[in-house]
Symmetry: C2
């Protein structure tokens, strides 16, 4: 730690996930992970009269559920790290307003849930907080209105496009617990390889994922097969294929262990989502609804989670800029004592 | 630390500001602090062909200047915490892209610079980084286009409106240095008192400032007069008056020491900015261009900086929501050993 050439941050006394939950829309509920999610709303409105308010409400419900699943007294929560895709990150601000907790607003596009988990776990490990939450969300209908066209327009989708997930995930991290633990984190750098196709975000973000993965494996000396699962945030079909191929060229064969949250969330044949899911809520819900539960029940012991984000805006693309990507890394492990004991 | 009832985070071995710089537009250069800013561009374009690119370039210049003012090798910088007002925080993403550093994207509206300083200093104090930067910006022309009307429209401004500053500030924090030090930080909670007048942001944000100030004074037992200066981010004329009055009612008389970055930046009589400055770059430039320089030269020893942010969006207001505010607190002190030695 504290060495300019080292990017991986090993967390002393790794914080434990003690509560986690996901709230999703109907399409996500109908997908292969549907039965694992804690709550769904078949209308996608979550009882609200605008899609933006629906997304806020979904975040509120996810954090409430995570607190209750973890049997955490809401009063014991000391900080919330959260963000979303909406302009001015309003889904988080309005959704989490009622909790009255110290609030760190984040923007990492689809990497936001990893950024929140990274900062929450690092701040707990350092002793600033005993318990903190990481929360993120996205909503298909609010995202379409803001980034593309309102649903009523009925625009056609490109084959490489991804589907913004209607989903929120919340994770309560605590100083003590039975795991899964966050043992290492690594913030990403912004990578811009000149790709400017808004309908192919997977290709735009893959270079950032590859940069973070190569840095991590090189620094730690670990190999892909040391993990039960390596999971990118939401590169989708295109980005997944690019990452797998280019990582192999770099000498890291991830074939056996590599998957992508955007591919896990929806049925490949049965659900018409083209290249897979995306949005802040995509990997947040897959991690909180599926992965952490699987780890807690003994299915996986070591998961490398790498959420990717595309840091452009509709405006920056209109002005001719390319799409910069970033990939933040979080290492979930059931083994707390393995590497980072308090020296 | 780590107590759910305690919100103030005391930083062990407080990190030092080692480099700081501000880049501003012509109006800010013509204001009372003009001569203290490190760079200005009389056209406001900073050589770019869109206002959004100008803002990015201004951020890039500010960070470069802060590195050079602090005689810091750019290679020694281990992380950047940054954000801005533009949708998807693109001023920061594109402006800081070229530095190739681990990047934490933040959104706290006008409180972003305090949020960045808070997280950067806490992460350094914990030993994760030796050197990290906090950066933020705003640009009058990009903000008008996004939040209100494009300049060409010539819309009239309300008397309680504030003027979005064309300014960027960058602060390099380091494990070691001669000060000013960040000795304490306190993340704010989101406060919503039902105010929904977009032309009176000072009134909307004042309750958050009052909440954070009262919490800080109550927890630490300190009094306003223990500080040479208490500085809110940009509450402007309205918010400053509300805060002063309501704090007095709470038993904290700040008359002698209280000022506001939004009031310091522009000439009250000579410059037509109605209620004062605002925007992420307002307090960032006042802190980096004026306050830290004054502290380093012995003018002030203890400054309590409290940046306020309004967490609404144009969209959320159209949908009938009020304006939630937040106020993050950063305590700058020339006395490192006073309170937080490594026990």
């Amino acid at each position: 730690m504290g060495d300019a050439d080292v990017r991986v941050l090993s967390l002393k006394n790794p914080p434990s996930a003690v509560g986690f939950a996901a709230a999703v829309g109907q399409k996500e509920y109908e997908g292969p992970l549907g039965s694992e999610f804690d709550l769904h709303d078949e209308t996608g409105t979550f009882g609200m009269d605008t899609w933006e308010k629906s997304e806020s409400e979904m975040q509120r419900l996810a954090l409430n559920l995570a607190l209750s699943r973890g049997k955490c007294d809401p009063a014991s929560l000391e900080a919330v790290f959260a963000g979303d895709l909406m302009n001015q990150c309003t889904s988080s601000a309005y959704g989490l307003l009622g909790f009255g907790k110290p609030y760190f607003g984040l923007y990492g596009a689809c990497s936001t849930f990893a950024e929140a988990s990274m900062l929450a776990s690092a701040m707990i490990s350092a002793g600033y907080f005993q318990k903190a939450a990481a929360v993120s969300s996205s909503h298909f209908c609010s995202a379409e209105r803001q980034f593309r066209f309102p649903l009523e327009y009925g625009g056609q989708r490109a084959p490489t496009a991804q589907w913004t997930a209607t989903a929120a995930g919340a994770l309560i991290l605590c100083k003590e617990g039975k795991g899964p633990y966050i043992t290492e984190v690594m913030p990403g750098v912004i990578v811009d390889k000149g790709i400017n196709d808004i309908n192919n975000m997977g290709a735009a973000m893959a270079p950032a994922a590859i940069d973070s993965l190569c840095t991590y494996f090189t620094e730690t000396g670990k190999k892909p097969d040391d993990f039960d699962l390596i999971l990118t945030g939401d590169l989708g079909l295109e980005g997944h294929a690019i990452t797998l191929t280019l990582m192999k060229n770099q000498g890291f064969d991830m074939t056996r262990v590599y998957n992508d949250c955007g591919l896990l969330l929806y049925g490949k044949e049965s659900q018409d989502v083209h290249c897979g899911g995306s949005g802040c809520g995509c990997s947040a819900s897959v991690i909180c609804g599926h992965i952490l539960k699987g780890m807690a029940s003994g299915k996986w012991k070591n998961v490398l989670y790498l959420a990717t984000g595309a840091l452009m805006s509709p405006n920056s693309l209109k002005q001719g800029a390319a799409i910069p990507g970033i990939a933040h890394l979080v290492h979930f492990s059931m083994d707390r004592s393995g590497e980072n004991s308090d020296a």
